[in-house]
Symmetry: D2
Subunit: 356 residues, 4 copies
């Protein structure tokens, strides 16, 4: 199956490997006449790029995007938008040590098993560099959504045992963790740096809030808003779980607590996380997802080589001790793509035939 396209009416098709020539995306189905500059896209990419801070990989990739099609005189034309970033700072020699090894927790084992190809130069298609194309497309999605007053913001709420107690969304882009609680930020940073110095990595939880989604967005029964967002977010490397509203806590609740009461002007709570029956309820969409600790670490681990021999694996190279801060823009991007796709689909029904 061709698994590199996502979406129905507004689609993204990503391409490229970590150590190939380039990575990018074709965005199709974009409405015409949307103002779009390279800067709009680059701004989002800069939030994702490596080398931003001491808690991300020291690889310094500038990741400069170029737009190859779909734009004329600063506006979208309605035709496919191809955006691409050349790979530059690929130190393949970093990978010589693991050339014949399968790294524990890494996709190189499954890629080799499925495709029979061993690209020893790096993560190949499983690399987080693939998400560059997603962020480019997401920049366009966010631009489109902003015209209708829809905003998406992701932020880190937990790193190891350290949780954000506050939701101060104004400071997210001002701290290197991209968390919403400055007190927690300090502890999270120390926790990550400590793991990094030990050659290890840490897990984290990211929350996403979407404001302004009109009531009814989402397509029963399979393309529910929450189901499509789950598909999109779970397709991001390292994500291992997702929950909406109260999420897993709902197991401990009774209906009389969990169900959000309604009054004339809205809801009295948002335990559902903004969806009812798979459609937006008009409340904020709120969900959380967990990212596992990255697999590329220098702590020695038991692994095997291509021939089945047991080996001790140490992954040198320049990897993220915590991927969460850089996953933030990727999560926003994927959420944006889902929303534009669903909103366009929904209005197809509502506007044309009904309001005519």
């Amino acid at each position: 199956m061709a698994g590199s396209t996502f979406g129905t009416n507004f689609t993204i098709t990503t391409f490229g490997e970590s150590h190939g020539k380039a990575v990018g995306v074709v965005l199709d189905g974009c409405p015409p006449m949307i103002e779009l500059s390279v800067e709009d896209v680059q701004k989002e990419l800069d939030r994702r790029r490596p080398g931003q801070s001491k808690v991300s990989t020291p690889r310094d990739e500038s990741d400069t995007v170029e737009i190859y099609s779909g734009i004329f005189e600063g506006k979208t034309t309605g035709t496919p938008i191809m955006m691409m970033v050349f790979n530059k700072n690929q130190m393949s020699r970093d990978y010589n040590a693991v050339k014949d090894l399968f790294r524990p927790g890494h996709a190189d084992f499954t890629y080799y098993s499925k495709y029979g190809v061993r690209d020893h130069r790096g993560g190949g298609r499983s690399s987080a560099r693939e998400t560059i194309g997603r962020v480019c497309a997401g920049a366009v999605a966010k631009k489109i959504l902003s015209r209708s007053g829809v905003t998406i913001q992701a932020y880190v709420i937990q790193v190891g045992p350290h949780k954000a107690e506050k939701r101060d969304l104004g400071i997210v882009e001002e701290n290197i963790i991209r968390t919403c609680d400055l007190d927690a930020a300090k502890k999270m940073e120390e926790y990550i740096v400590e793991a990094k110095e030990a050659g290890d990595s840490v897990g984290a939880i990211v929350e996403v809030i979407v404001k302004g989604v009109p009531v009814g967005v989402g397509e029963p029964v399979f393309d529910r808003l929450n189901a499509l967002i789950s598909h999109a977010i779970m397709s991001i490397p390292a994500v291992k779980g997702i929950e909406f509203g109260k999420g897993f806590e709902a197991a401990l609740m009774r209906g009389s607590e969990h169900n959000d009461e309604m009054i004339k002007y809205g809801f009295l709570s948002n335990n559902a996380g903004g969806t009812l029956g798979g459609m937006a309820s008009g409340q904020d969409i709120i969900f959380r997802f967990v990212v596992k600790p990255a697999s590329s670490i220098t702590v020695p681990r038991k692994g095997i080589d291509l021939y089945g021999n047991e080996k001790t694996v140490i992954t040198e190279g320049r990897h993220d001790p915590c991927v969460a801060p850089r996953v933030v823009p990727v999560a926003e991007a994927m959420t944006g793509v889902v929303l534009v796709d669903l909103i366009m689909s929904d209005k197809a029904i509502a506007n044309y035939f009904e309001k005519k």
Copy 2:
């Protein structure tokens, strides 16, 4: 968007509302020459049907399935299989009291907002009766998978605060909770009955284990095995979160703990839950999902009517105090559909072109 079809090569299209004539499914892309009887399907439906026990709704719907196409002389023909159950025990009068009301936590508000239709007779398309079609299709999927030694089992692991400590999978179908720990079963049952007597409902967590999936199943980058399963499971009514392997606990772990070490004959742990890079690793696929407490309760709650007036809402009728035991076969069904779809797609590549 047409949201009632799921899958790419092996697709299910469900139809029908709770108080319409019938509910059912068209399963397309099924391989030919698979032995399939009405009993194979009915057996799974019986696990889903109402009125099974004191912890499910007292509505006694026999839910007898009939197969209308795609079978000849007891075998599939490769053409679409239509399976349908007539709705019988629809006590619409139960709904008169909520005829003009939006029930808190219920999809009637979003359905009305999106479609402008008020089917006061019941849940309509948002009703759990829609999942009958899924279970029928899942019965076929499980039959196909069993030929290749793939098995899927779901079971309840938590109801309210009561957790299953054991994983005794042999007893799951022998207790009305469908849990894997007989000691816990008793407490869970008491907890549900107590809530039921109070006119309330409770949440729960279900775990699913899949054995025998070949390495490599899953299509990077968007149609990862875990992403498609998440899409499928999150599309089941009342599901609010899903996690694979260690799931959200991964936030507390380090890479050196979470990454599953490999030795000559396999893995030393399964923190990943059976996928690496979105493809099956050859280990068991393990995931969990949470179901919220049902919205139809008799505890009075604040709601509004169609005209925006504030009302006290009490949902009489015969509803499940805990949907988890009846969600078990639905989760197995959706997991089966995803797996057959992905395996067929995968082998398309592997077999024909490579091994020829």
Copy 3:
């Protein structure tokens, strides 16, 4: 691949075989609040049904449709509409003579080769009865289109050597050939009856005209209006070719003749058949397709049996000597489905984001 679903946002999924229990369709993505009665659908089915006249099969199947879902109080609800017709007048004994034979020109050879199943009772899924589901869905599509002033009409323009010289569209439903020229109708009828008496069948050409399609409908580059219509029409049994506007005659023309000149209020000709660059130009959409003579005839022909032995094949039974009159509503249906799908998709872009 699951080939029984057609469309993207407005989809039809047909099911059923000629000698199974029933044939039908699930129509998904239908806008809500469209008035729809069983009569709206039955009316179209009656135009397709067997036994209408001496130029169609004498099988007298009433083909009574029932709607099982998606309608409430006489209106669509936006959820899947399932429509089904039970098979009644199946004289399987007619097929005993060809039980083990592959009929020349018939799909039983390829079905058996692909699926390994021999349903000796009749055409199975390749039977024209499969088109019943299409006509049901098309009835809904035409209803939707009529709200926007879009009309679709098909009619026979050639049977054997006899061509319609006129385009008198008002008389199409008043003659059993469904042609647009009463003089030609007589000759066509004689020609068909003569072939029928000889146990033979004849080919024909059908033209379709669509009025009122807004400029711009069609999605470059692959989902062009003409490409999707071609896909849809060529999927009808017995259709062997399609052409738009001047069609194959364009090979003989120069650009200065073929290109349609434009003036202030429109075009001076319609050689293109109503599309430019794959999008509707605002002119009438005009295309023609050819149906081959049916394969089920009593003229003895060389064929083989399941075991490869050469046999003389005579197909008794009650078959259409010319399928064209009964293909007319099927072609209208498929054209309608394509148009609703494309218009809904198109307006998704245009309305919501641009006009807001």
Copy 4:
């Protein structure tokens, strides 16, 4: 709707406009371990490139392809293959004269009507340059098919009134018309040159023959082999009709003539063109399509400008007087893409589940 992706399991997504930076394609779902070099692709592109001969446009675009992803050490990896050609010889000044004009028979009217964008520099997305991406993907498809012994060949059989009487397929690439009859080639060439000197263009018919397709390829009922090929071929710019086997001539035939008789070792004729019931019959697949005379001519024609004023339109620039010779590789490419997609899908069913 996102219309720039074609295919289900083996997909192509094209991007780029005639006067943008580049045109290209992302090919997804390609099996791994297929040897593929830039030369394999370039060879096909050279057959499509402008400036080949006196019957094609004098624009001399070298159209050099580069592969950006999906290849490692000379073999496909199973991940998306991005191939791109930079636009070089864009003389936008040629278009100044038609800057505000809609050219009769040209897509600039519908593009402007739909998207509201006027890219006066040239054909934009409707330009035949878009087919560069298709030819690149087709080169890969043909490589894959050749491993299984499937070959595709297209050739011109009619230009204006001049028809190829012979089918000498060995000489097709040796004459500038790409016809299969050297005697006809001379007359066709003269006919095209004459039109070219008059500032005019001519139409033509192309035939395609596919050998070696296994019995059963094609997915009933909508994704029939002939229906998908029709979709693919009708999506090529300037194509106005398609027919299989005897095509429109079938209207004149009786069933006893048209139906292909079968004997022990095959068929006695191929009037059907190689499909029965929408699936390959094992015979050669044969179809023909017509290309209209190109719209860009210097013969003065009546047209309108952006504001509705009537104007005389003369399209200077360097255009093809007959597009057929350059459409030949595009038709082969699209046919190849359809076949790989269907074969991969088909074997999904046949191999894995049945032969295991």
